[in-house]
Amino acid sequence: MKLEIISFGKISEFIRQQQIEISDVINTDQLKSYLETSFPQLAGMKYKLAINQNVIQSNQSLKNEDKVAIMPPFSGG
């Protein structure tokens, strides 16, 4: 399965915008653990996933060419 990854803020410093090709990931829970294993810095951070611009609130299946956004909280003012 091909996924497009876009990330923001600090997360974009270690996860660049990219296409990934993964075979054994079929849902967002698995994607989270894939991302946290591939990018260990992510595991200790607060972030929210969105698929095709919709924020994920519970495990959801993925399909080819889904667009994954990884968003951290900002507090500056």
């Binding site: 200790g44 609130q57 519970s58 500056g76 003012g77």
Partner: protein
């Protein structure tokens, strides 16, 4: 109303006197008179909002001036609220400016917020942001959220029902606040002055749209803006179910103590020897929060496996054990899990995280496997 002052927006197609009257009859509270607050205040005041409250307890410093454009060099050391109010009254004497020279806390936030129609959050720290979010959610008060980090900004509108009748709040995105130091702010990270200028102006635009009913305000949407490539990305927010929000003012005043104070973790990071001691003497429950595919596999009779991805669901059940040790590969996710348990149990249970995780004490865990 001075028609000439507002003539250029009065002649706008789809705006006119009706929209202008809505602005004049509205009461807006802007929290934080800093990088975001300055442009927000300027554009709301010049647009002709009837009443604007300003909340801030800070004074002006030299390093503020590159982005806090209401202030001049000879204002240094003066209270922001006073200087901003004076300047804004000159800009538009028709707007009633209310000065709230204070830092919002549990004791004053309800009184300060209650009489306003819309709250605009331009603060610079998570403690304030979560407190403002929770109180606005309890009061179902529309909240314009604006924040910046590095070269990027975020903008959203909460507590306003969308076409489906659903409203969201900040905790639907980020259920619990990052710990102090986990996410850096402008003071530590730096910010280009124009960025809060852009995001603040956009926040003022969203406020005007919400008041007048024009366009499509960012209701339950989070707009991301990147100054470096002028890219925007908008996410649709749906309600989450994995957070605690007080239901009423009374609930908030009772339950929110921990959250409003700077967080001191009540869980403890421990080494292997301490973990073994806890297992033997305190019959501690040891939870492995790694995902199911991660190696080495541990003995499931000794280590309860609850992957991080299922942890929020797991936390909803009650745990009988008095002592709980969390572990993962490197001791990072186990800290996040400890925070979640701390949110639920506070000081009523002893919560530990194995520092360094399985990889640090690999020999021990590999031997355990062979037993």
């Amino acid at each position: 109303m001075d028609n000439e002052r507002y003539s250029r927006q009065l002649i706008l197609k789809g705006f006119g006197v009706e929209a202008q009257n809505k602005l004049i009859n509205s009461r807006i509270l802007v929290i934080g008179a800093g990088g975001l607050g300055c442009p927000i205040l300027q554009y709301l005041v010049t647009a002709g909002i009837g009443t604007i409250g300003i909340v801030d307890d800070d004074t002006i410093s030299l390093s503020n001036l590159h982005r806090q454009i209401l202030y001049a060099t000879n204002d240094i050391d003066q209270p922001k609220v006073k200087v901003a109010a004076k300047r804004l009254r000159l800009m538009n004497p028709e707007t009633h400016i209310v000065e709230h020279e204070l830092r919002l806390d549990k004791s004053n936030i309800f009184n300060t917020i209650e009489s306003y129609d819309i709250i605009v959050d331009g603060t610079d720290n998570f403690d304030s942001r979560y407190m403002i979010n929770d109180v606005c959610a309890i009061l179902q008060k529309p909240l314009i959220f604006a924040a910046v980090a590095g070269f990027e900004g975020q903008l959203a509108i909460f507590n306003v029902k969308n076409e489906q009748g659903i409203a969201t709040n900040y905790r639907d995105l980020f259920p619990i606040s990052p710990l102090p130091g986990e996410v850096s702010n402008c003071a530590e990270n730096g910010v280009l002055g124009v960025l809060p200028g852009i995001i603040g102006s956009m926040a003022a635009a969203e406020t005007i749209k919400l008041v007048t009913g024009i366009g499509q305000p960012l209701i339950s949407k989070m707009l991301h803006y990147n100054l470096l490539n002028q890219a925007t990305y908008t996410l649709n927010i749906s309600p989450g179910n994995d957070y605690f929000l007080p239901e009423s003012k009374a609930d908030f005043l009772l339950s929110n103590e921990e959250q409003l104070c700077p967080k001191t973790p009540v869980f403890e990071e421990i080494d292997l020897a301490t973990m073994q001691l806890l297992q033997e003497e305190a019959s501690a429950l040891v939870i492995d929060v790694r995902e199911k595919h991660e190696f080495p596999l541990l003995n499931k009779e000794i280590f309860l496996q609850v992957p991080m991805s299922e942890f929020n669901t797991f936390v909803q059940n009650n745990i009988a054990a008095e002592s709980i040790v969390l572990l993962c590969q490197h001791g990072i996710r186990s800290v996040a899990a400890a925070e979640l348990l701390q949110e639920k149990y506070g000081h009523t249970k002893k919560i530990y995280s194995l520092k360094g995780g399985i990889s640090k004490w690999r020999n021990h865990f590999l031997t355990k496997q062979n037993e």
